[in-house]
């Protein structure tokens, strides 16, 4: 994977090019007062690579000018390498913004070279970098091809047809002797390989010969594979200030792709993570908004994490514009290998169910996805207690020996009385013996009620109660409707 436009794209990822930067302004990256990278708009204004700063400013006065940021580029390449860990544990950072991945062991898992390339491309799309990809039997030749035009050579034989045609100066070690090779008429790798080895070794050292040998597979390749850090904590500065929480998702996706790479390489599953949105430092510095996401079912799937985060971000109200996003992993556990049951259970696994509940909770909120946790009490409104699915309140077993209405009104409706009978649409006839509920005196909320099942003229059954007032108070009994028999 070669990132050809990295020095520009660290400042302006390609998903933000037209919408946020605004057309016509342009972007120019300078290194030692010389233009090294520019975007389409700047190119149309006449800026060319190698120009001086003054010249570029004259041609494109509105262009945003950045100095080349080596540190940021290195960080970006490291991020890409981390993200690629989800496809193979053997990832190496090579020279000139290139990442090498040894995928020979991953081909079967991901369904072949073509599928793997598609998967890599899709996950790197979150970064917003232009990627040039090549596949070759040796790492060195893959590097050369990616630097040149990309491509796919799966066997040594087809590689040997492609490799000699590459320009000689593509080889890193040959560039120091560019003038000399030019004088010799060496233009391609084939010409280089035709030179006498002893002489070449004497003039250019062993490094050049080793590189060429490694490219064709005649010398062993040794790489220093990327080691993932023991904890994950990544932060990105946004190219622009962002006012909407949903827009942060683009950036957050990039963090999640990195995170999945990290999880895959460590063989861990995520249980809790948090996203911190750092706000613009205005007149009043506002503390960063933190979104904590706890997962019921440990996961390492990018899609699920992205969907969860999308729903959570949709509910967040930003206090100020966001300038940076940080993702921190709080809790992980070892990933379980996938189930190898021959027949999948109908209706999906428990893990699927937990994922669904998480998704519902993420969008609707904890208080809206409930399960029953009955409380041992006589008052119906206390018994029918519903708690969020994530809470660990335990319900008591219910006797289930009395008919109860399925629907309980949150506030009982006081019924009018006609001819000493409760009336709700039609006179109600009691069709059950009374049930006395007298409880709550210990909490100061004394409830003294006699419950009856009542039937209306249209045969609908209602659960009504008569409030038992003290016998001394000369008052008509008050009837209330409290439940409906569904």
């Amino acid at each position: 994977m070669y990132l050809p436009h990295l020095s520009r794209e660290v400042f302006q990822p390609n998903w933000s090019s037209t919408s946020e930067a605004g057309l016509g302004s342009g972007l120019v990256v300078l290194d030692h007062e010389r233009v090294v990278a520019l975007d389409q708009a700047a190119h149309e204004a006449g800026v060319r690579i190698g120009m001086r700063k003054g010249g570029a400013l004259t041609l494109a006065p509105d262009a945003r000018i950045h100095d080349k940021d080596e540190l940021k580029e290195q960080q970006a390449v490291a991020d890409v390498a981390t993200a690629l860990m989800q496809f193979s544990p053997q990832v190496a950072i090579a020279e000139e913004q290139t990442v090498l991945v040894d995928v020979s062991a991953s081909l079967r898992l991901f369904g072949g070279v073509r599928a793997l390339r598609c998967a890599i491309r899709a996950s790197l799309a979150a970064f917003g970098f232009t990627v040039r990809m090549s596949v070759a039997p040796t790492g060195q030749s893959a590097w050369l091809m990616a630097r040149y035009r990309g491509g796919r050579r799966l066997s040594i034989r087809s590689l040997m047809r492609q490799l000699p045609r590459l320009p000689a100066l593509l080889v890193l070690e040959a560039r120091r002797y560019a003038d000399w090779f030019d004088g010799l008429g060496c233009t391609s790798v084939a010409d280089l390989r035709r030179l006498p080895r002893a002489g070449l070794k004497k003039r250019c050292g062993t490094a050049l010969l080793d590189t060429l040998d490694r490219a064709v597979g005649e010398a062993p390749e040794l790489y220093e594979w990327v080691q993932t850090p023991p904890s994950f904590n990544a932060r990105i500065e946004l190219p622009d200030r962002v006012e909407h929480a949903e827009a942060v998702l683009f950036v957050a996706r990039r963090l999640i792709v990195q995170l999945t790479g990290w999880l895959a390489s460590k063989q861990l599953a995520l249980t809790r993570f948090s996203i911190e949105l750092e706000h613009e430092r205005g007149r009043a510095a506002s503390p960063p908004t933190t979104i904590e996401v706890a997962l019921a079912e440990p996961t390492w799937h990018e899609d699920h994490l992205t969907r969860l985060l999308k729903e959570r971000l949709g509910r967040v109200e930003l206090a100020a514009a966001v300038i940076a996003v940080r993702l921190e992993v709080n809790d992980v556990e070892a990933a379980e290998p996938p189930s190898d049951t021959l027949f999948p259970e109908p209706g999906g696994s428990a893990a699927d169910h937990n994922r669904l509940m998480e998704l519902l909770v993420a969008r609707l909120g904890h208080e809206n996805v409930l399960r029953a946790a009955p409380v041992a009490d006589h008052r119906p409104e206390i018994v029918s207690n519903w708690v969020p699915v994530s809470s660990d309140v335990k319900g008591c077993p219910l006797p289930g020996d009395q008919p109860r209405p399925s629907w309980l009104l949150e506030t009982p409706i006081q019924l009018i009385t006609r001819q000493h009978r409760p009336f709700y649409g039609s006179p109600l006839r009691t069709v059950s013996p009374g049930e006395r509920v007298e409880a709550g005196w210990w909490g100061g909320e004394l409830v003294t009620r006699d419950y009856f099942v009542a039937e209306a003229d249209d045969h609908t059954c209602y659960w009504i109660y008569r409030e038992r007032v003290g016998s001394r108070i000369e008052e008509d009994p008050r009837w209330f409707l409290h439940g409906l028999f569904g």
Partner: protein
Amino acid sequence: MASARVNVVPCGSETLAAELPGGGWPKGALTDLLVQQPGAGEMRLLLPALKAVATRRIAFLQPPHRFQPEAAAYWGLPETSINVVRAQKTADALWAGEQILRSGTFGALIFWQSHVRPEALRRLHLAAQTSESLFFMVRPLAAASDTSPAPLRIAVRPARDSVSLEFLKRRGPARDEPLVVGLTHSPILLNRHASVDRRVSAAPQPRSLPAELVLHE
């Protein structure tokens, strides 16, 4: 009733099974239940089917009132198998319904919603077709005149210890007269058959009371 290749859940009543296409409540399809108000017996009508799928879970989306777990216990339905999902906005509720159906981890979804646009119903019906879940929408009787993609639409009216069902739409011959289906777990405990058992109190006989009970003035 012709039994097409429909995946059904037994409905627990032979008279009803004879009238339902396939002989039970259809899985993977939208079924409309139209009620005047909650409490018409619609839950007890679905009870046998809910019991059959209770091992997978049951979702109540946007229930009209608070559901009492004690009622489920009386019916013999484990209350732990029920999840209640509420949403502030109709769009959220429709989204949640679709997610629940698409994931297919719930055995049944009952969705209370009064106003739904036909395209939203169609979307839910399509989502239901991808799953193996029971899917009922409980809507007011006034929605009977609206179009609906549901292959089965039934108006439910209360009756004594039973419900009276009117088939508004079904796959099969039209049926005009309502069908009365008996329900179990009736809340009516007193005098189920003789509705009002009022004994005439004995007529007072003069001088039948002991003298000391009679108040002298």
